[in-house]
Amino acid sequence: MFSWSAIFENLPYLLEATRFTLIVSVFGMVLGLLFGMIVCAWRLSSSRFLRNFSALYVSFFRGVPLLVQLLLAYYFLPFIGINLPALPTAIGTIGLCAAAYIAEILRGALMAVPRGQEEAAVAIGMTPATIWRRILIPQALKISMPSLFNELILLVKVSSLVSVVGIVELTRMSQSLAAATFRPLEIYLAAAAIYLVINLALAALGQWLEKRMAY
């Protein structure tokens, strides 16, 4: 028998835990954008060492399962004497991993900015820093908007993995509730519905922003 009451009674707890799902994914995205810009700048830098290092960085973080990266952060950091609480460790790991993907997204977007604009900016005497700040970065962000929203939706989904290292977000909470109520089917379906609502809302927001930014 499918029990709707099992869902309604536990919904407040699920929504409570959803806060952490959002915290992990949003902060992970912010970190990912910051690091991603740095890694992207390295990929395009004139120093061969930085180029190779950033290529290796991207390859590693895209080549290792995030779950393994999370476990690595948990065991390895204390091993070398860095003791951080669980939440910052998880957010940091997700941020580092997202940075690898975002760096590649931004690199593709920068290549899509017409060359003439940079030349024009140099011609009217803009400094390199200003060119980046006023010409390249804003346009790259605009071009990569759809991909960046995709990445954010992806992060909401992978945030479920931090349940493994003990952070009580939506997935971890639904595990506890499923065990306590003996209603795994209802509870997990409810959790899936919450994830779906968040991601559909994000997708809609992304499309709306795209329309607004198009000119």
Binding site: L72, L185, Y195, L200
Partner: protein, 231 residues
Amino acid sequence: MAREKNGLLMEFDLFIQYGPMLLTGLKNTVLCWITGAAGGMTLGFFIAAVMHYGPRSIRYVLRAYIEVIRGTPFLIQLFILYYGGPYVGIRLDPVPAGILGLVVYGSPYYAEIFRAGLQAVPHGMVEAGRAMALPEFTILRRIVLPILMVSSVPPLTNFSIILTKETAILSIVTVPELLYQVQTMSAETFAYVEAILALALFYWGLVELISLVGRKFEQKTNAFLLRESSS
């Protein structure tokens, strides 16, 4: 077991001692990945074909299926299947559950790849086939499918690599794949750091290897494209 100063040597001993267990894990990882990817591709292909050629009403149902699967975490899907399944009479062992999970999770992504590929087949070629009175099935087999396959190879490889990494998540529902076995080994020997580090490097190598094979395959199919167009 006493931890010694020479961590590397000790790790080497561990891997010999736990060799068979790790090999079983590797076998399960590869098995889940290959069958999951093949199943997901097959299901995805059918979904794409029905969406492309089928009636409009079914199209909406499949669109909803795609959005729901793509909008929810793989881990939650596994929980619904493995822990929720028995309540509706679906009882599966971990490995079949894991494979089925991968098939379901992967199918919408593969479907979208094939759908884009189908839309990219120039309509003029299909019309030319009809003009030459080729049977519909022959048009599909000799014109649509070859073009579709060549244009879909890069994204198919790409998503199959992503699926390699998803297999690690199966350890959470007790599928004895690599990560699960390494965690078991760590729990017995307390060599967490070395084991997880070695595992990360191993996955990295595996993914790079598959990418390399994918690129080689791509070059082959590209050569095929060139030969086709120049003849």
